[in-house]
């Protein structure tokens, strides 16, 4: 593991920055929470293991001073997208890149161990061993990883100042990224309608997906909650829930970096990212654009071509 290297790098960059944002152990071994390091004594609390799923890059737009942040490959796309949209100043961020072989979904582990209290968690190559009062259970990482990891294209960060280990190349085919979207597209209109109705009906409108979303930069002025304009009401109906998810999807059109935070935090296990992935797939087709890959790109909805090569006029 590159935890030792990570700690060394943090100690090295700490004098130049206000804060280093990294991960630390939470209230038990299965939980990892962010840590904001301001003094060298805190560095020993830093952990790095597959449970470090949270996208720490989300904290960057709200930082006023120079900070360092630890990112996985998928998180680095967030930074690239922030750079494209001018939301951060690259000179004010030190990026500590971590080549990542895949994260673990806490929820999937908890399900596998029957929600028992966790006494200890250890990692061996390719598996996670969880100790509970009723015994030990070993799970393969591939079985408990979030869906995004099964089609990861960027195991190594795209932008970084320091790297904690050797760069890894993705071994997943690029088509696998939108495999779930393609599968849904193969169904009939009615089936898709029923699918989304059943999924979005579970929504309790806690807005956790929005709060966790790195690209939802409006936060407290989100139109899902403002009274003026009053886009959605407090009514607990399917239409209002769908409308909320449409707000989220449309405001992320061509911006979603597929970090999977929305699905990670959803308490109802709704596939929140599906609509956004569908839009991304269309953006790839229409404008050959993938969010968060090249800092020089311009998000497709921020610009236009006078003659659009792929947009044909629709006939009635």
């Amino acid at each position: 593991m590159s935890t030792q290297k990570l700690k060394e790098i943090i100690k090295q960059v700490l004098p130049d920055v206000e804060t280093v944002i990294c991960w630390q152990e939470g209230y038990d071994k299965l939980n990892v929470t962010p840590i904001f390091i301001t003094s060298p004594e805190q560095v020993d609390q830093v952990v790095w293991n597959p449970l470090c799923a949270q996208n720490l890059a989300s904290y960057l737009p709200s930082q006023k001073k120079k900070v360092a942040v630890a990112v996985k490959g998928c998180d680095s796309r967030t930074i690239v997208q922030y750079m494209q949209e001018g939301l951060i100043d690259r000179n004010n961020v030190v990026i500590i890149g971590i080549p990542c072989k895949g994260t673990v979904s806490k929820k999937k582990v908890q399900k596998a161990i029957g929600n028992e209290p966790v006494e200890d968690v250890t990692f061996t190559d390719g598996s996670i061993k969880v100790k509970t009062p009723s015994g030990e259970k070993t799970l393969a990482l591939a079985d408990v990883c979030p869906t995004k990891c099964t089609s990861c294209q960027f195991p190594t960060p795209i932008v970084y100042d320091q790297l904690t280990g050797d760069a890894i190349k993705s071994d997943k085919p690029p088509e696998s990224v939108y495999a779930d979207v393609t599968e849904l597209e193969g169904k009939t209109l009615e089936e898709r309608k029923a699918y989304f109705a059943s999924q979005f009906d579970k929504c309790i409108r806690c807005y956790a997906c929005r709060n966790a979303c790195p690209m939802c930069v409006c936060q407290d002025s989100c139109i899902a909650e403002t009274r003026d304009p009053h886009w959605i009401t407090q009514r607990n109906s399917l239409d209002e829930k769908v409308m909320f998810h449409m707000i989220h999807a449309l405001h992320l059109a061509g911006r979603c970096v597929e970090c999977g935070e929305c699905e990670r935090v959803c308490p109802m296990e709704i596939p929140v990212a599906k609509l956004k992935k569908k839009i991304n797939k269309e953006m790839k087709d229409l404008f050959d654009y993938t969010p968060g890959v090249n800092p020089e790109d311009k998000p497709p909805m921020y610009t236009f071509n006078v003659d659009e090569a792929k947009i044909k006029e629709h006939k009635l």
Binding site: A194, F196, I279, E308, L316
Partner: protein, 138 residues
């Protein structure tokens, strides 16, 4: 011979002030026969049309939504409809994915002088929506 008129549906039209709204006016002045299902909302530019206007209309009772602006390159504000074109195309592709027939949504370009074309657009789109029937079963 008596003809029973089909039940009217609710179609919302977002028309830009400078071209399509004028085109609809031209069609009216020219006394072209048009279906009466369309309710027009005048917007300053097709670039003002947030895709969420369309979604909100469809979710809250409209059976179809029509967006019409100036022809590309003819925008009163130079580039409003270029942005609109990208947004609306994105929406056109997203709607069927979430289970809303994309035939219920149409975007097009009609200039202020094209009264005849406006009549064809309204008639064509209204027939298309009528073929699908009401969106919300009451």
């Amino acid at each position: 011979m008596s003809e029973v008129a089909p039940k009217e549906l609710r179609i919302v039209g977002f028309l830009c002030n400078w071209c399509s709204y004028g085109g609809a006016d031209t069609a009216g002045v020219g006394r072209f026969k048009q279906p009466t299902d369309l309710r027009i909302i005048r917007v300053p530019c097709s670039g003002r049309v947030d895709p969420m206007f369309v979604v909100r209309a469809l979710l809250t009772g409209a059976d179809g939504v029509l967006v019409s602006g100036c022809h590309p390159r003819d925008c009163h504000y130079t580039d409003g409809n270029f942005y609109a074109r990208r947004r609306l195309e994105m929406l056109k592709r997203l709607l069927p994915f979430m289970g809303i027939d994309d035939k219920r949504f149409h975007y097009t370009w009609v200039s202020a002088s094209e009264g005849q074309k406006w009549q064809q657009v309204v008639t064509g789109f209204t027939n298309q929506v009528h073929a699908l029937g009401p969106m919300h079963q009451k």
